[in-house]
């Protein structure tokens, strides 16, 4: 505790002492109350008799009282006041009526009423303090002691009180309270614990900090007046050395001499500093002040300072240790100042191939490739401008042999107190091998890019082979397609092969599945890494003998659709790393190949279809031509025979008898039938051949034409019920279709009045036509035979037996259907549909 603070406390204590004296005086005065009560009792008795006797002798009683005396009735009306009271309040009740309620200060009225109720209940009240208003509006503090006046039946009839002016007393009290409050709040807020005891070791004053330090679970106020003579002993266990604490306190109290800066260690390790100040009044000992202060932090700081001094040697050891680590780590470390290297370690020397001194003669720039320097400078700028303290980036360093190492470089900036850069510590990690992994990713990326737009299986395979061969450091790399149906593998890309030879895929390189490692992988779907092929009896020499082989399947839906295979003349050429990479490539290839294969199959099929179509067209054409040639060859003799018969008849006119002439006529009829047959067969066989382009055909016109061509007997009429539609196709075929049906209807009509009705119904996707007659009808057992070739139900000169077959074939051509409804003797209806 500083001397200054002590002075303040002492001054406050002095003030307090003065106030206390004043207070003590008041307390002494208060003992006068007892005499007042005596007086009251006296006046009480007098009053009783006064009220009873209604004598005026009371005056004398009032005069005998030094303080103000007031008598009021039960309603608060003032009945009597003595001279003191009259002059105090300023009212003369002889001249004006007065109620106590006029006297009480308005703010205190509630309290006054309550007190009056208490008076009524208990019959007496003492030390009722309140403010009153005098007639000239002065506020005065008064103390009233009073009692109730009852009649003989014990019924209250009034009250009397002695009134004392305590205004000045109250002011002094307030002052004391204020100063006490100030002091206590000061003490309470001290960061030191304070304990003021009187000469009997009763607590005069203490503060919350005191309670806090010594774990006293009450507020400091409540400790006032408590006898603390035994406190040291009772609280000894709070201290690390209880016995010493108690004996020290005892000895201090005995000596009554000021003790400053005693260090006390608490049981919990905290350290307190204690001062003891005796309070003397003249030579008289009046008590003492204890102050306690927590100095734990200060102490620890001091201790750590001391410890640091001791550590200096330890730091030296640590430094050496660090140096060992620095020189043995695999991370290159360089200490730089203003870009110059001032320190470096073995790892860095190994990395770049320069000696320690060589490196120390360099700046960072000397080790940096010109093209990387720009990005490095950007970071440096950030350090100076943005005040960042470390950054990490990937950069290359020049090696002594001119090659590059790839590193992850971490730069840490060390700044002095003014935030200026003192030096930089750079950690350099060799990531060249990591970079190789990146290269693999690049390989895959490049591959992806190069095969992205390609759909041709051979192109894709070529790209893969070219990309991989370089990566695998070999010139033997092949991609096979696996054909599980034919049990073969087909080479579709061979590294180097197409460079000499432009013809891409060599189909004769089929390698039967089941032989060789490729075939084995094709079957198993599991990658193989053969370190020494001479020890693997599956190995088959393909182009030349190789000692290591790596074979990875291109899998699709669990089966190998292709194989990536590579060989190398040396043993142990391929690594597990290679295998992993190839598997990645294979899975990439799988996606592309799957699409490509399906495209390829699709194209193959398309090509086959195209060829087939062409073949079909040609053969159709040829067939058609052939039919014509045949029909010509068949028809020519018929013409010759007819001519010859005709000539014989003319040349021998009148010489031939009737029988011979009949036979000649039969020959001519037979020739005609033969001619018709040949024509019909020719037509039938040429229905499929599209001789002319499809056009919109107006069937109404077709029907008109037919009516003109056909011989229609007079007894037969043809009706077209609904207008016929336009339909797309070959006119000759529609004509043949209707002509055959109508001529049949005419041919097989036996009725007096023959009727042929042609109608059409339109459907969503087709037309349904009907040709209805009232002819002889067809027995149901023949219904399914009528469309058969050469089947004529009624042999006739004009019927070849092919007519309905032609009808059926034309309907089929236009994807329609044909059926018959018929009843013998009543008629037949042919229904057929034609696609729109």
């Amino acid at each position: 505790m500083s001397q200054n603070k002590i002075d303040i406390i002492l001054r406050n204590l002095k003030e307090e002492r003065t106030a206390r004296k004043a207070a003590e005086k008041i307390v002494k005065n208060k003992s006068n109350d007892a005499s007042i009560i005596e007086e009251l009792k006296k006046s009480n008795k007098a009053l009783e008799s006064l009220l009873e006797k209604k004598t005026s002798q009371l005056e004398g009683v009032f005069e005998n009282i030094n303080n103000g005396y007031v008598l009021m009735d039960i309603f608060g009306n003032i009945m009597k006041m003595n001279d003191v009271a009259t002059s105090f309040f300023g009212y003369d009740i002889g001249k004006e009526s007065l109620s106590v309620y006029n006297l009480i200060y308005p703010d205190d009225l509630d309290y006054g009423i309550k007190s009056f109720i208490t008076l009524k209940k208990e019959g007496v009240f003492t030390n009722y303090r309140t403010r009153i208003l005098t007639k000239n509006k002065q506020v005065r503090w008064v103390q009233i002691n009073g009692n109730l006046i009852v009649d003989k039946q014990n019924k209250p009839i009034g009250a009397q009180g002695i009134i004392r002016d305590i205004t000045s007393e109250k002011r002094a009290e307030d002052l004391l309270t204020q100063s006490e409050n100030r002091l206590s709040s000061l003490i309470e807020n001290l960061d030191s614990a304070v304990l003021l005891e009187d000469e009997h070791r009763k607590i005069i004053l203490t503060n919350n900090k005191f309670c806090e330090l010594f774990n006293i679970p009450t507020s400091a106020d409540l400790l006032k007046g408590v006898d603390y003579s035994n406190a040291a002993y009772e609280s000894r266990n709070l201290f690390k050395h209880p016995k010493e604490f108690v004996s020290r306190v005892t000895s201090i109290l005995e000596k009554r001499e000021q003790v400053l800066g005693d260090e006390i260690i608490m049981a919990d390790g905290e350290t307190l500093e204690r001062d003891y100040i005796p309070i003397l009044k003249g030579n008289q000992y009046k008590g003492h002040l204890w102050t306690y202060k927590d100095i734990t932090l200060r102490k620890k700081y001091r201790e750590s300072l001391e410890a640091q001094k001791e550590n200096a040697t330890l730091i030296q050891e640590k430094k050496e240790e660090l140096e060992t680590i620095v020189n043995n780590t695999s991370i290159g470390i360089a200490l730089t100042q203003h870009g110059r290297i001032i320190k470096n370690n073995t790892a860095l020397q190994n990395m770049v191939g320069f000696s320690e001194n060589e490196i120390n003669s360099f700046s960072i720039r000397d080790l940096t490739f010109a093209e990387d320097y720009h990005s490095f400078k950007k970071y440096i700028k950030q350090v100076t401008v943005d005040k960042i303290d470390n950054f990490t980036f990937v950069k290359r360093y020049k090696r002594k042999d001119g090659s590059a190492i790839w590193t992850k470089t971490n730069v840490n900036v060390v700044r002095d107190q003014d935030k200026n850069i003192k030096h930089q510590v750079t950690f350099i990690e060799d990531i060249t091998s990591n970079r190789e992994k990146t290269l693999i990713i690049d390989l895959i990326n490049n591959l992806t890019k190069s095969i992205l737009g390609k759909t041709d299986i051979v192109d894709i395979a070529k790209e893969i082979v070219n990309n991989i061969a370089a990566y695998l450091d070999t010139d033997n790399c092949t991609i096979y397609l696996v054909n599980h149906e034919k049990n073969t593998t087909e080479k579709i890309a061979v590294y180097g092969v197409k460079m000499k030879n432009k013809t891409p895929v060599i189909n004769d390189l089929f390698l039967p599945k089941g032989k060789g490692i490729v075939a084995s992988v094709a079957k198993s779907g599991i990658s193989e890494l053969i370190h020494d092929t001479s020890k693997d009896d599956r190995y088959v020499i393909d182009l030349k003998k190789c000692l290591s082989e790596i074979t990875v399947p291109i899998m699709s839906n669990g089966i190998a659709i292709g194989i990536i295979d590579s060989e190398h003349k040396d043993k142990n050429h391929y690594t597990h790393e290679h295998l992993k990479t190839l598997e990645s490539v294979a899975s990439l290839a799988a996606i592309k190949l799957r699409t490509a294969i399906s495209i390829r199959e699709h194209k193959k099929a398309e090509l086959r279809n195209e060829l087939l179509l062409k073949k079909l067209e040609t053969s159709n054409y040829e067939l058609n031509e052939y039919a014509h040639v045949v029909s010509h060859d068949l028809k020519s003799p018929l013409r010759s025979i007819d001519a010859l018969v005709s000539w014989i008849k003319t040349d021998n006119e009148g010489l031939l008898n009737g029988n011979t002439l009949d036979n000649f006529n039969l020959i001519e009829d037979t020739l005609e039938k033969m001619e018709l047959l040949i024509s019909d067969i020719l037509f039938y066989s040429s229905i499929d051949a599209t001789t002319s382009k499809n056009k919109k055909v107006n069937l109404n016109i077709v029907l008109e034409d037919i009516k003109k061509i056909l011989f229609i007997p007079n007894n037969i009429s043809i009706q077209i019920i609904n207008k016929l539609p336009l339909i797309i196709g070959e006119k000759t075929k529609f004509q043949q279709l209707f002509q055959n049906l109508i001529s049949n209807a005419i041919k097989f009509n036996d009725k007096e009045k023959g009727l042929i009705q042609i109608d059409v119904l339109e459907n969503k996707s087709f037309y349904q036509f009907s040709v209805k007659d009232n002819g002889i009808g067809i027995e149901s057992k023949y219904l399914d035979k009528v469309f058969k070739f050469f089947h004529s139900l009624k042999p006739s000169k004009e019927s070849s037996g092919i007519g309905l077959s032609i009808v059926k074939k034309i309907v089929d051509l236009y994807q329609g259907e044909i059926w018959i409804e018929s009843e013998p003797d009543i008629g037949t209806t042919f229904y057929f549909t034609l696609k729109k």
Binding site: S636, S646, T691
Partner: protein
């Protein structure tokens, strides 16, 4: 029927040739009919003679060189292509018909089955060509 036509008939079928001869004599026509049994023979005749026929009657279905092949050669020969050529055939093959018209013909007559019909057709054809103005040599 005053005009006398110089006709080249190219026909391999002997009966067909007879039919033509008989028809011409039946109709009492004075036309001169030269016959060639094959297309090759016809070219020989055309190259030998100094006066070209007025019209050619050509059968299509013939062994060796077909009628259409003969027609193509004829029409690509500047000296001969002017000669009106009428096809006389049993083939009602549409392809043949189209091809012939494309190369260039002056008529396409189908041989009917009945001899009487044949006579009627030939009479019409020949009388038609009789009233045509033909190139003189």
């Amino acid at each position: 029927m005053k005009k006398k036509l110089n006709i080249l008939l190219i026909e391999d079928n002997i009966i067909e040739v007879m039919k033509m001869d008989r028809t011409v004599s039946l109709l009492k026509l004075k036309h001169k009919i030269t016959k060639a049994v094959t297309a090759d023979k016809a070219f020989e005749l055309l190259n030998e003679t100094e006066s070209y026929p007025d019209i050619i009657l050509l059968d299509l279905n013939m062994p060796k060189m077909s009628g259409i092949e003969f027609l193509s050669s004829l029409k690509s020969n500047d000296n001969l292509k002017h000669i009106p050529t009428i096809i006389l055939t049993t083939s009602d093959n549409e392809n043949d018909l189209k091809k012939c018209y494309k190369i260039g013909i002056s008529g396409y007559i189908l041989k009917p089955l009945k001899y009487e019909d044949y006579v009627k057709k030939i009479e019409v054809v020949l009388s038609y060509w009789c009233i045509n103005e033909l190139k003189k040599y």
